[in-house]
Amino acid sequence: MNKKYVLAYTIALATLIITMWLGVAIGSVRIPLEVLWNPSINETAANILWQIRMPRVLLAALVGASLAIAGAAFQGLLKNPLADPYTLGISSGASVGAVATIFFSISVPLLGIFTLPIFSMIGAIVTMFLVMSFARLVDRTMKMETLILTGIIFSSFLGSMISLMIALTGEELRQIMSWLLGSVSMRGWPYVQMIIPFVIIGSFILWWNRRELNAMLYGEERAQYLGVNVKRSKMQVLIGGSMLTGAAVAVSGTIGFVGLVVPHMTRMLWGADHHHLLPLSMLHGASLLIICDLISRTIIAPTELPIGVITSFVGAPVFAYIFFKQRRRKGVA
């Protein structure tokens, strides 16, 4: 590995460790670092650390990592710097699953508290397959343009379904609203445990396709000439990305722009080679979401802001900037 990437990973890991420490240490109760290895010096602090802050920080890290790597992979696949799980309608699908669960008060005894997250994952994957099937109906070779347009159609439709359900909910409105804006608070260890297998499997699938993603940046035709099984890779990346998106939306609601901002920054800093772009995006995504969560719970303490408010506050201007730059580049060329 060349020096550039040694530096890149060192910085990314150091940032993650520092943000994790800040994430567990700062809050209404300041937690001394010693508690980590010696809980007996302050039982209350140890409790807050292990039962509240640590799962919260880990969940933020896993959600951030999932959204970032999924965004990086979708952008590479779609050759579109503005693409992320939302463009394909996958997040909307996950949200519909979750909102429907709340609206109809669905409760499957066997799933218990996991009813909500599992339904939102199902929503994500079902939406992804619907989008894929519709795109294939429109165009047998599933051109990228067709996929994006299909995603927009499904997003709009699913968005209106969510709005309808919110309008009909009445008293449950606050709960749905807070879920929609996204949060990693008060989730605890069970949520961390349930997201981990999906994060590992999803990331593995995307990492497996890193060379194919590099090749597909130059167009599907060229990728095919290089020996890439384009259809298979495309399907794998979409499934891997949907799994990660579904899992993230399930445990934390709709947290926008992480999948857009992080890969863009990583690409600017370290280049577009997916070999490193994917893992570096994960690390940076984790750090970013921990920081955002820290800000959301401290900035107007004791009141907590939904984390999605913070990410959108940072993300929307970046989105505008990328859009502006892309259009300008196209205008010049």
């Binding site: 050759k79 940046l217 130059y218 000439y225 890439v228 280049g271 577009a272 080679d273 060329a333």
Partner: protein, 489 residues
Amino acid sequence: MLHVQQVSGGYGNEAYVQDVSFTVQKGEILGVLGPNGSGKSTMLKLISGALPMLSGDVALQGKPLRAYAPKELAKKLAVLPQLHANTFTHTVREVVSLGRYPHQSGFFSSWRDEDEQAVVQAMAQTDVIQYADTEMEFLSGGEQQRVFVAQALAQKADVLFLDEPTNHLDIAHQRQLLDMVRTEAKIHGLTVVSIFHDMNLAALYCDRLLLMEKGRVRIIGEPHEVLVDAQIEQVYDVDVVTRAHPKEATPQVTILPSVSLQKEARVTAEHIHITEEAVVLQSPLPLRVLSSAVYNAGLGWYRTLINRTVDPLYDVTNVSDEFAQFIRKLGALPTNCVGMMTALTTDHAVIREFNSEAGHLIVAVTAGVGKAIDVSKTCERTSHYEVGTINTWVIVNGELTDEAFVQAMMTATEAKVKALQIEEVRDQTSNTIATGTATDSILIASTQQGQQHAYAGTASLLGKWVGHAVFETTVEAIQRYKQLKEMAR
């Protein structure tokens, strides 16, 4: 190596490309030509598997294309499609390294020395190695094109398909790229099928050419079979002239503009000015000239003809530069000028006009026959030749074919010999009738407007008049030479 049999297909269910069949041998370069929209790129996509065929078969090394797994096919066949803009950019090395994709497998990195060597070699071959760590977006279109060529080469496939590989390249890099492709083909047995926009480049570098017309093969064959005027005119709907390449054994095609910018004009003796230094013809329109002149000999288009008087001891070692200076001093352009030299003063020049049924002819002769020789006796001579010169200009207001130019030269030469005979000019050494001098020069020029002359042999209309005119003028020039010599005594 590659067998394409009755392939039809296109986008969707419409068979835009129909019934294409050809075979390419190992180490052969096949060029694909055709007008825009004739199906060249579609055909290449069909036979490379990027588009599904509606019917037909493609076999690569005896195995059907569809029987190959994607990676296996990429090891055998590399394709360079046309350049497209990209959103994200990799460094040059990363792009070229993608060419090693079919040779890699496994979850973890399996980059071997062999891969590194192939990448470095490909970058060196295409002259992009100095940009190895530069991002693609900072390269020009031509440089990007070379990077993608390097990517295809790094694939180390046996067969290479190229879609207009010289797009965006300047001529130096066009040559470099095609030289390299030819070297790979001839030395390492690379088999190449390449689409060309420029049929002259294709003729220079391809063993065979395939001409497409409306999705079908019009003809496949060696360049001289394909680049035939009538055929190109039909397929492209444009007037062309095919000529041999000046140095290579292959045809080159030139288009003929449908609108001529040349005004109609005539050349007469009034356009000739005689000064002490030279006889100069300044033509109102470019003349097509075939000559054995000192300056700008051969075939070309020129407006200024010069017959220059020089000292008999003129130093000929640097004649080209010296003559160019002289032309500039006259206010003419060296690239637009044909120049002869003679030791005779300009008052020796005889200029005659002939308003004949073969058109208006001008003949100008300076005949320095003091050192005349008999061509049939020259091989008996041992001493070196002394300088004497008969310079003959024949300017025709008319349009001559290439045959007519050559025949006009023969006719004019015969007329000159006859003039020497009539005037009894003798070879001083053998004492026989002379046929010319050792440094005679001749020039046939035509306006290429007006009356058309297919031939200028002695029996043709133009030939008769050229013979008559050159004979008359040369006789007069010899007489004047004798006269002036007499007077000088």
